[in-house]
Symmetry: C2
Subunit: 476 residues, 2 copies
């Protein structure tokens, strides 16, 4: 997998970067590309040696690491590395690249290079890549595939992004259900290979209907003359092409699956889901929570068109505006005292802001608790009690700190006392709201993270202003 | 895995819940427990039949589903279900339970029941469970293990929570490196079983030093008389017990691993890491981002002691307080105009609040982009441009909306114009800061999510007040 001289891929990458930065390699490459007349013969030989070493080093890296290398070097050097990657790694590297670098590499490549790279990929990988390739490459690429692969690519492209069909893979070992273990063993011996991390052999009947799965572990340990039907798991967890990929991923987590069959509406085996593919999805799902919490549509991508991104944020801006105008109306009711004590206007944001952030901390904790299922109906009240106690401690402490700062700034003991009390009360409310909002969202069938940051800020602002100004009226 | 009558585990769970809610089963169980005199013989027979059916249904469920069942029924019914679980599932079910329900179940159980349940677990699972068991159960449990298992449990308990050692498993197939494939095959045939999802066989020398791994796929397809050393991967990606589990998880994602050997400081094979265990960790890591963003220490747990939770939040509250007092000082500088136009105090929070939330949306997007590596040095500027354009559109649109609402509320055209302009400028600044903060945190070697929510709110508050009040002074 890696050069034995380097204990870590990152060391190999750094070494390669240093090599590229030595000008002679770049020069040697340019010579080779442009067939320019060579300088001194000796110099050129060294250059070519370096180039060959570079090529060797690059192709010893895992495609994920080649992609990282491409991403971390300046654009003008990417052409060199890209052209030194062997065809057998080029396609896999393309799949691992970030969108922007992939786009750049693809635009700068010849059609035949891209077709050659894609030919070393499995059908499901080609599907992922096809959407990123220029239109004129696709017919060439499709015509280079076998009829079976072409059909797999076409059908997989028809599945929605978040369905099992879009995440399934096609390189799976399949056997018929009417043979013995011995026959299965001989069959794969003759074939001479099994897909990497195959894990399980799929078992179907004459019509291609899924009958069960055979774990490689069982095939290895059970003796050979017994019929396959006696050994297979006849009721494996399987998925339909139209099932939600997100739910499939959570089943993989729940039941510790490595591979599971995918069937179509007629029960025919059409592919497999592998844990390696779903790892990416699981990561993606968790990342989405961060977006949801900030009030972003889950489908927003980093480089979506401006009009789409702008619209995407409207619902939450609108809700936010509504809440903050309500908070504003509350302040407006207290204009008499504010015109008497203008300082109140300056102190107004302090308790509301601290309350908002304290509330956000609680929200984050609750969202995680709900996601990991640590928080459930049985211990909700316990959490409310605990967060209330934390707020009692922190409210008293930071209320006092705020009171002292206010006293130092304005030499007004009543004002300092108002600040202390307001901070204390606002933090208590923030704790309760912070626990309540995600749980309420979940009870309403929504994602508990959905816009919770907008809601908590609005709620603590409104309450914070009300508490602070009411206390000011009462005490000052 | 599940009762053929139910296509989904959730259906089976609902059916079981309905059965428990029929009083006769509970009664039958109480009879059985307390050896109370039975009512009518016929009635009791039906009851016992129901109880047997219930037991059958429960034990057909996956332990993860039994745990879900226990979590979703009222506490007073948990005892029944818990006692109907067979010993072979009880330990695994305990591991799947939420902390609070596990605590409840464990407290209500007899020592011998817990020991019996734990005996069906692997050493690594016992390690996870031991920390949750009452002190008096542990000696009994340890003495029921084999010497080898006891050592595994003791050594694994010594590893820090976030190390590979704490996540490794011990049930792994191992062979010596000086035999042929045929011998390996015969060895496992004779053993009659391999761990579930073993995936790879570990190969060691006489001294237990790791020499390589043998994929089950290769063992199945290669012919039998060749020495194992010719087939094994002699340079597999392996981990040290002291390596970071988080980095191991990201290697699993990166290189699509299913299983990898774990070695100690002397190169001796001591266990394996499996993707199924790391799935939980990957999920946990992603969840932590949510906490970090809100300014929470990554180690905070839902039910940590109050003093620990309270202290955990101090650094960010302190920073927050500092920033908001700076914002307050800015408002204080404008006391002349506020005392002239008291309405300004009421309108003050509006632009700052909208700016804070708009900034949070951008931050969430950038954090995700950095985590998925879609955002890198090459396209940062492109993102700044895009977010600036989105802010231009949304600033103009929502600035106008805000202006119109202000006009309707106060019938003051200049004031409405101040609001429109302030909203527009604040949203532009929020976009730039929103892209800048996570990227700056990352450049400083910090997690880009670290406290970003606190920082962005502070920055937009300060700027929002300054912009709004300066515009008020200039225009009103």
């Amino acid at each position: 997998m890696s050069d034995p001289r380097f204990s870590e891929p990152s060391q190999a990458i750094q070494h390669i970067q240093a090599m590229i930065n030595r000008n002679d390699v770049v020069e040697a490459w340019l010579h080779k590309q442009n067939q320019q007349p060579k300088h001194a013969l000796v110099e050129s030989l060294t250059h070519r040696q370096h180039l060959a070493e570079l090529e060797l080093l690059i192709n010893r890296l895992h495609p994920a690491d080649i992609a990282l290398l491409l991403e971390s070097i300046p654009p003008e050097q990417r052409g060199i590395v890209w052209h030194l990657i062997g065809d057998e790694h080029a396609g896999a590297t393309l799949l691992e690249l970030s969108d922007s670098v992939r786009h750049e590499v693809v635009s700068a490549s010849e059609t035949e290079d891209l077709t050659a790279a894609a030919q070393h990929l499995e059908s499901d990988e080609i599907v992922d890549l096809v959407q990123e390739l220029p239109q004129d490459v696709i017919p060439d690429l499709l015509s280079s595939l076998s009829e079976e692969e072409r059909q797999q690519v076409r059908s997989a492209m028809g599945f929605p992004e978040d369905s099992v069909g879009a995440w399934m893979e096609f390189d799976l070992p399949v056997v018929r259900d009417d043979i013995s273990l011995d026959v299965v063993l001989r069959f794969f011996r003759r074939q001479g290979e099994l897909p990497q991390n195959a894990g399980k052999i799929m078992v179907v009947d004459d019509n291609g209907l899924l009958k069960g799965t055979l774990a490689l572990e069982d095939l290895l340990t059970k003796s050979g003359d017994i019929p396959i039907s006696e050994v297979i798991d006849t009721n494996p967890l399987s998925f339909h092409t139209r099932d939600s990929a997100e739910e499939a991923a959570s089943s993989f987590e729940r039941y510790e699956l490595i591979v599971a069959p995918v069937i179509n509406a007629h029960g025919k085996l059409v592919g497999v889901l592998r844990v390696s593919a779903l790892l990416d999805l699981i990561d993606e799902i968790a990342q989405r929570k961060v977006l949801l919490q900030a009030g972003l549509n889950r489908e927003e991508n980093l480089f979506d068109p401006i009009s789409k991104s702008a619209k995407n944020r409207w619902p939450w801006i609108a809700l936010n505006l509504l809440i903050v105008f309500i908070a504003s109306r509350i302040i407006d009711q207290f204009d008499a005292i504010i015109s008497q004590v203008v300082t109140l206007a300056a102190l107004l944001p302090i308790t509301a802001n601290i309350g908002g952030n304290a509330g956000n901390q609680v929200v984050a904790l609750v969202i995680r608790g709900l996601a990991t299922k640590q928080l459930d109906r049985s211990n909700r009240l316990q959490l409310v009690k605990k967060e209330f106690s934390v707020a009692l401690v922190n409210g008293a402490l930071w209320g006092t700190v705020t009171g002292i700062i206010t006293l130092l700034l304005y030499q007004d003991l009543s004002l300092a006392f108002v600040m202390l009390l307001a901070m204390f009360c606002t933090m208590l409310f923030a704790a309760i709201i912070g626990v309540g909002i995600p749980i309420a969202l979940k009870s309403l069938g929504q994602d508990p993270a959905l816009g919770s940051s907008v809601i908590i800020t609005g709620a603590t602002d409104t309450l914070g202003f009300l508490i602070f100004l009411s206390l000011a009226v009462a005490i000052l």
